[in-house]
């Protein structure tokens, strides 16, 4: 199976040269050991991301989106069972690197991360300005005061007023805290920012505000983004490419333009059909059943038990099929 995936990946280059690739993930596996058994949270994921491209990872809760982000950043919990595959950043495989090197050279220097519970991701005993400045102090040995000054600039970019920086995290609203984290992510000018549901748990106005901030940043800074979300509207605003995950697998990877017009994978189609639209009056769809347990995932296509288009071949696990050289789909329907 691993071989198949690898060969499939080589087909997908989005028409750009190898040097344009910033991040290449190959057959990434991250399994957790629990009392009930081994959870295959990320199971053989492969994709590529070009420079100055933004990809959004879509999927329902528990499909492995966040675990994928954490695996890229090597933020592993203590109960790791398997952590294997290749993560190549700028042509360098990160997997063999030791933890200390990874901490010093990759985290925030190359890859920034806006964690899922960004609202609670601020140290309660640090002033927000010092908190934003932390990566500079950690990675560049900048003095607290100099770093604070840089933090003020970064805060301006995300629309965080200067006087907020001398406050503590609990004195800030959720949106302001989110801005602080985003400012922190921008501070060291990384090549890749991974945003894990940056707008969840915010009210719609604040969401819109943060989205505008992110769009502005995307325009102004030449960085790549991985945006993890289950909010299709959010992803349509920012993404150049869409990656859909289901039960620990990537089931579709398409350019955004194509995806939002006509998704390929039956799961992605169902996902799109569940989104309310403003202008047409349509019946919202849902997918019957529930995602499979990752403790003991079904053999064959993992979506098959819920798939309206399943047929005999679905009992076998499908490889990634390339379509038109721009999309990959993990579905037998696209077999040639």
């Amino acid at each position: 199976m691993a071989k198949q995936t690898k060969s499939a990946v080589n087909l997908v280059n989005f028409g750009r040269s190898e040097s344009a690739t910033l991040l290449r993930v190959e057959d990434l596996k991250l399994y957790f050991r629990t009392t009930k058994g081994v959870v295959q949270a990320v199971d053989g994921v492969s994709f590529e991301l070009g420079r100055r491209r933004s990809a959004t990872v879509l999927g329902e809760s528990g499909c492995g989106k966040t675990t994928l982000a954490r695996a890229i950043l090597r933020l592993l919990p203590r109960n790791v069972h398997t952590f294997s595959g290749k993560i190549v950043l700028d042509g360098v495989d990160l997997m063999p690197m030791n933890d200390e090197w990874f901490r010093k050279e990759i985290r925030w220097r190359k890859i920034s991360f806006v964690p899922q519970a960004a609202m609670n991701a601020l140290n309660p005993v640090l002033r927000v300005g010092h908190q934003i400045a932390e990566p500079l102090v950690v990675h560049h040995g900048v003095s607290q005061d100099a770093a604070f000054k840089r933090a003020v600039e970064a805060a301006k970019l995300v629309g965080l007023p200067e006087d907020f920086l001398s406050r503590y995290a609990f004195e800030l609203s959720g949106g302001m805290r989110q801005r602080a984290i985003i400012a922190m992510a921008l501070l060291t000018n990384p090549e890749l920012i991974i945003l894990d549901e940056p707008t969840s748990a915010l009210d719609v106005l604040t969401q819109a505000n943060i989205m505008n901030t992110l769009k502005k940043i995307k325009r102004e800074f030449e960085m790549s983004y991985i945006l993890i979300t289950h909010d299709i509207a959010t992803s349509s605003e920012l993404a150049d490419e869409v990656i859909v995950m289901y039960a620990g697998h990537i089931v579709e990877h398409s350019p955004a333009a194509r995806f939002f017009k006509a998704p390929l994978h039956p799961y992605a189609q169902k996902l799109m059909a569940s989104v309310p639209t403003l202008r047409e009056d349509k019946e919202l769809e849902f997918i019957p059943g529930q995602p499979p347990s990752l403790l003991n995932p079904p053999k064959g296509c993992r979506f098959a038990p819920r798939c309206p288009k399943r047929f005999e071949r679905c009992a076998e696990e499908p490889p990634l099929f390339s379509l038109d050289g721009v999309s990959v789909v993990k579905c037998w329907l696209f077999a040639r």
Binding site: Q116, A121, P135, H139, F170
Partner: protein, 443 residues
């Protein structure tokens, strides 16, 4: 969040104010003790032996006993300068006779003096001066006491003169000489005089006398069996208890805060090791260890403190471990990991500061325990051989206590001070706990 602002919340708790007053009193006592009797001076006085304390009464109660209607006499000291010269004549051949009156107003009806003594300091070359002593009571009776040869310096303990006791009908002189003629069980109030006929036999011979009527009360703390003023021990007990309790509590509280953070952050075998060591400490009996140290090595307070701290730093704290286990997986710690903060930075800037406020009540609450431990060791006879401490006063007193003994002040005051320490710190600690531990906060 501001620490000072939160400490100011203490004002809302009346019990905390009482506790703060008690702690403040102890601190004032400590400062006063150190200023009044510098360390070496306090130790010198406490270890000086009876000779330094000859002019103090033995086992006198505190003066404030009289507030409760006891009317006990204080010590009266009549120096040579204050004595009245009644008569002086030259008897020829270098012999001189002077008559001096040492008078004292004995006005307390509640009890007899404890003792009666005449201190003297005589100079002569061959023949020592002699003093013929007569006791004159307020009602005009004159009782001959006897003749004393004044050889150099010394004291004539009138109350212990066996011949005098016999002449007075077997009654101790300090009672018989002061007794009311009609009611022998009570003292007669008024002015007493010791008439001294001082004979010197050489032209250069001279003698200085001093009469001391030992009282039954002394100072605010009384005296012990060695005539030492207990106020020195009680005052100095405060700084010693504070330093002992605070240093042990501070070092161990901070150690537990830090080592538990390190252990839970690294997890795995580090955590297991520290946790096993914690359990080891929990089953190791502290008191027997300290008793053995006291018996076989040293009873020095500072060595005991060092052993106590060494014992304390075995392992960490189960409470902190539980709190850190929860905290280490909070989003903000994860975020710190994500932006590449190192282990040390996470421990020092993310984990420890979160619980630093909680250590303030823990520190305050831990102090009395260590103060009591030190006192317990002293009561068990393992007190510092040099320093005066509350526990040692109790231990020394315990040898003289029996039912019906009137020495209860001796044990009462150090015990009260220990009690004050315990209650004072506990009241502040409980209020601080309410302030810093939101779950205990009343709405």
């Amino acid at each position: 969040m501001n620490l000072w602002a939160r400490l100011q919340e203490l004002r809302r708790y009346p019990s905390a104010l009482v506790g703060l007053a008690a702690v403040g009193l102890l601190i004032l006592m400590s400062v006063y003790a150190v200023v009044r009797y510098p360390y070496s001076e306090a130790i010198r006085l406490w270890r000086a032996g009876e000779l330094t304390w000859l002019e103090y009464p033995r086992n006198a109660a505190p003066r404030w006993f009289n507030w409760f209607g006891a009317d006990l006499p204080e010590t009266i000291s009549v120096t040579h300068e204050r004595a009245k010269a009644l008569h002086a004549e030259d008897l020829g051949g270098g012999v001189r006779r002077r008559t001096l009156s040492f008078s004292c107003d004995f006005l307390n009806g509640g009890g007899f003096p404890k003792e009666l003594a005449l201190f003297y300091e005589a100079t002569f070359t061959r023949t020592p001066p002699q003093a013929v002593l007569t006791w004159r009571t307020p009602d005009g009776r004159e009782i001959p006491i006897g003749t004393q040869v004044l050889r150099g310096g010394g004291r004539y303990i009138i109350s212990a003169d066996a011949a005098l006791v016999k002449r007075l009908g077997g009654r101790p002189p300090h009672e018989a000489l002061f007794a009311h003629p009609a009611e022998p069980g009570k003292p007669l109030r008024g002015r007493y005089e010791l008439l001294v006929d001082l004979f010197t036999f050489e032209p250069q011979s001279e003698a200085q006398l001093k009469l001391i009527v030992y009282g039954q009360v002394h100072g605010w703390a009384g005296t012990d069996n060695l005539r030492r003023d207990l106020s020195i021990a009680l005052l100095w007990g405060a700084p010693i208890a504070m330093v002992f309790g605070m240093s042990a509590a501070l070092i161990l509280t901070l150690w537990y805060l830090f080592i538990s953070a390190v252990a839970t952050w690294y997890g795995g075998w580090v955590d297991a090791l520290v946790d096993r060591l914690t359990e080891l400490r929990m089953i190791l009996p502290l008191l027997p260890i300290l008793i053995m140290v006291g018996m076989f090595w040293s009873r020095s307070l500072w060595i005991m403190l060092a052993v106590l701290i060494l014992y304390g730093v075995i392992g960490g704290s189960k409470n902190y471990r539980a709190m850190y286990l929860q905290t280490r997986s909070l989003p903000y710690v994860e975020a710190a990991r994500a932006y590449g903060a190192g282990n040390f930075r996470i421990i020092v800037r993310y984990l420890v500061p979160r619980f630093l406020p909680l250590t303030i009540p823990a520190f305050i609450n831990a102090i009395p325990g260590y103060v009591f431990l030190e006192a317990s060791l002293a009561v068990l006879g393992l007190g510092d051989p040099v320093l005066p401490t509350w526990g040692k006063v109790i231990q020394e007193a315990s040898g003289f206590l029996y039912m019906g003994s009137s020495y209860y002040y001796w044990i009462l005051l150090p015990a009260a001070l220990l009690f004050l320490t315990g209650v004072g710190f506990a009241m502040v600690g409980i209020a601080l706990d309410r302030i810093f531990n939101p779950r205990l906060r009343a709405i």
